[in-house]
Amino acid sequence: MTEQQSASALSRRDFIARSAAVAGGLGLGFHVPFDAAAQSAAASTPEVNAWVVIRPDETVVIRIARSEMGQGTLTGLAQPVAEELECDWSKVTTEYPTPGQSLARNRVWGNFSTGGSRGVRESQEYMRQGGAAARTMLVQAAANAWGVPASECRVEKGVISHPASGRSTSYGKVAEAASKIEPPKEVQLKDPKDWTIAGKSVPRLDTAEKLTGKQVYGMDLRLPGMLNAAIKDCPVFGGKVASYDAKAVEGMPGVKAVVRVGESAVAVVADTWWRAKTALDALPVTWDEGPNAKVSSETIMAMLKEGLEAKEAFVGNRNGDAAAAIAGAAKRVEAVYGYPFQNHATMEVMNATAVWTSDRCEVWTPTQNGEAALAAASEAAGLPALRCDVHKIHLGGGFGRRGAVHDWVRQVVAIAKEMPGTPIKLIWSREEDMVHGKYHPITQCKLVGGLDDRGNLVGVHMRISGQSILAGLLPQNLQNGRDPVTFQGLNPGGAEAAIGYTIPNVLIDHAMRNPHVPPGFWRGVNTNPNAIYLESFMDELAHAAGQDPLEFRRKLMANHPKHLGVLNAVAERAGWGKPMPAGHGRGIAQIMGFGSYTAAVAEVSVDDAGRLKIHRIVAATDPGHAVNPQQIEAQVEGSFVYGLSAALYGECTVADGRIVEQNFDSYPVMRLDEMPKVETIVMPSGGFWGGVGEPTIAVAAPAVLNAIFAATGKRVRQIPVKNADLRRA
């Protein structure tokens, strides 16, 4: 048996030590989180509770189940725990429990899913309670040791004191005793106005390692005896591998195996990834392209256009009689908009490492949802979940790609299964990543509105035609065939994504048309197209009514004070209505999504050659509570880059059943030279917890589109803007 084959026979501790030694010898010195980081801490120090471990050196380890993908979740979730714990923030560090441990402990860490901008808002309460319970136990431990009532003790920054007797001790000293104390049944949480750590702009806990190359991403993982795999899945979705000629590449340098992966993919395993990829590129493969081989962007567009006029549609929002109101209106306005497929294009491509033996399977991967990754691994491994585990590695970007489906995890486990005991690291090429995404759904939208003779809006019909994310990913979540996610930001009410206008007669419906290209949750999800459709059309209606777009909106927003609040804030900060030079224009937009209210004003110019420049963005967000305002600003700025990249450039086209764009040369994204100044207004109004990572992305595009109209008189109705001629008519 080779060293690789016996890897799984090593004890875990050896494995850590050996991995660290291998890595350390190369100056990397990272800690391989094998069998849970929790073990390394808890092995020497018992946990106070599931959320908190305090080491004798006073280090406070806060356990975080959600994933860090750049959005600041580790820091943002540690803050409320530390707040209730009353510990010294400078001593705080974090670690991920594994989903396997959570399963074994009755899901003590709750949901692992990190998407829908839910990280902080969903788990803050039970995590705060965890912090408060730990504090109570630590104080009780000190009180017991002193033989005094806990109520006479005080605690500040991890130091417990008993003023009456002048004694004091620290968390690190009583942590072990605290771990044996019965957890309190009830805890009192602090009033947010008394917060000193949560709600403050603290620096991120994970910055330093990202500046020196020390931070380990999934792609960087090295295990003893590990081999590398490169993979090619049938470029036509729904196709299969017909045949391949492994002999042609078996003699190439470093090649260990050519493996068929499921029905549709083939992988080469080699000593290094570059050799695996080189051999894969040389491997002759014939595909059975299946029933979708003739599908193109044109055929998909025809399918969506048909849906715009179809009789049957799922209703998302109905009030009054839109058809009658529009028919009787003094003026009718009509427009058709469209949103294309887009790839997430995370900076780090999909990857995972797995070791499989007949009784256990371990996976290391960047994932937004450890539990879903565990389920995928268990299924692919043919082993119960309790005999598998997933070790989360920092994500080089997520944006929704690494959450709902774990196609790459299934692949790596399938490959590892062919080579029992050998750790296999699978890395997708950028090309594979581009053509096997889970794409932003494609839709078209027809809007018809009616104005009375005084320019008042009397009715709107908004027909969305196109792809449903749930139908593609989670059909069990459809409601009698209807996909409620389609109507994000357009719902008649609710705490998540309600429309911000009161329109006397309205009908918003969805003709579901599902092309074969697999859809996914894509940062911002359906608020992206919906904000473009609704907010551009509001602009069109305002102009048709001869009214200022801001004033036109305000008249419809009296019953929506929080929507109006962010709208007013950006208008005021941007100097709405102030004159601009020729060729310049301002646009405004607002939407509610992921429980938060957002609005933006964009200032753009278009030169005589039709070149667009975005000068300034003013964005406001009301997320209810703000855990870390400076991280929110970073998220808002970042979401504008993502949203503007999508609006200006993002487009995956289809030819012969496959995605055409294969890399950043044909799928351009925004770079520094185009980055506008972004001014962020964070205005938490309290009383609710909205998301932060996604909501603002949606207002970027419509604000810019409306500004382009203001600057040029040209209305861009199909994303991306790069395909439009912006020269003034």
């Binding site: 792609m219 900076m347 993502y642």
Partner: protein, 155 residues
């Protein structure tokens, strides 16, 4: 056998001559701070210094690098993260996911080595790396801060 000078150490390299320098650095030398993002010189995640200049190592065959040329990776930029660019990055909390940041930092430090006081326009046109998390405005501020020699402000 080809030899490479990486971060001041000369090493023997056993690899096919057309292997991109990036993969030699990551897989033969074992320094994984230098990232793969696109493989076609588009994104800059793989940026290293060769004799002080920023180079996208994914599109450079290792055979094109001579032993005398000095390659510096993110791990070799400073012994302890103390390069002015790294300090400015820390002060401003620039990274989000961080995956593009080694390349960003290598591009920024090469720019400052050649042009210690770049204008904003120069920074914008010279730093062409892709960041999907959208840290561009903090990158811009970070380069300016590093150029001023300041790194105060964190915390």
């Amino acid at each position: 056998m080809p030899r490479l000078n990486v971060n001041g150490t000369v090493r023997d390299i056993e690899v096919e001559p057309d292997t991109p320098l990036l993969w030699v650095i990551r897989e033969q030398i074992g320094l994984t701070g230098t990232k793969y993002g696109c493989g076609i010189a588009q994104c800059g995640a793989c940026t290293v210094h060769i004799d002080g200049a920023a180079v996208r190592s994914c599109a450079l065959p290792v055979s094109a690098v001579a032993e005398e040329q000095k390659i510096v990776t993110i791990e070799g930029l400073s012994p302890d993260g103390s390069h002015p660019v790294q300090k400015a990055w820390l002060a401003l909390d620039v990274p989000q996911c961080g995956f593009c940041q080694p390349g960003m930092i290598m591009a920024a430090s090469a720019l400052l080595a050649q042009n210690p006081k770049p204008t904003e326009e120069q920074i914008r046109s010279e730093i062409t790396n892709i960041c999907r998390c959208g840290t561009y405005n903090r990158v811009l501020a970070g380069v300016k801060l590093a150029a001023e020699g300041g790194e105060a402000g964190r915390g």
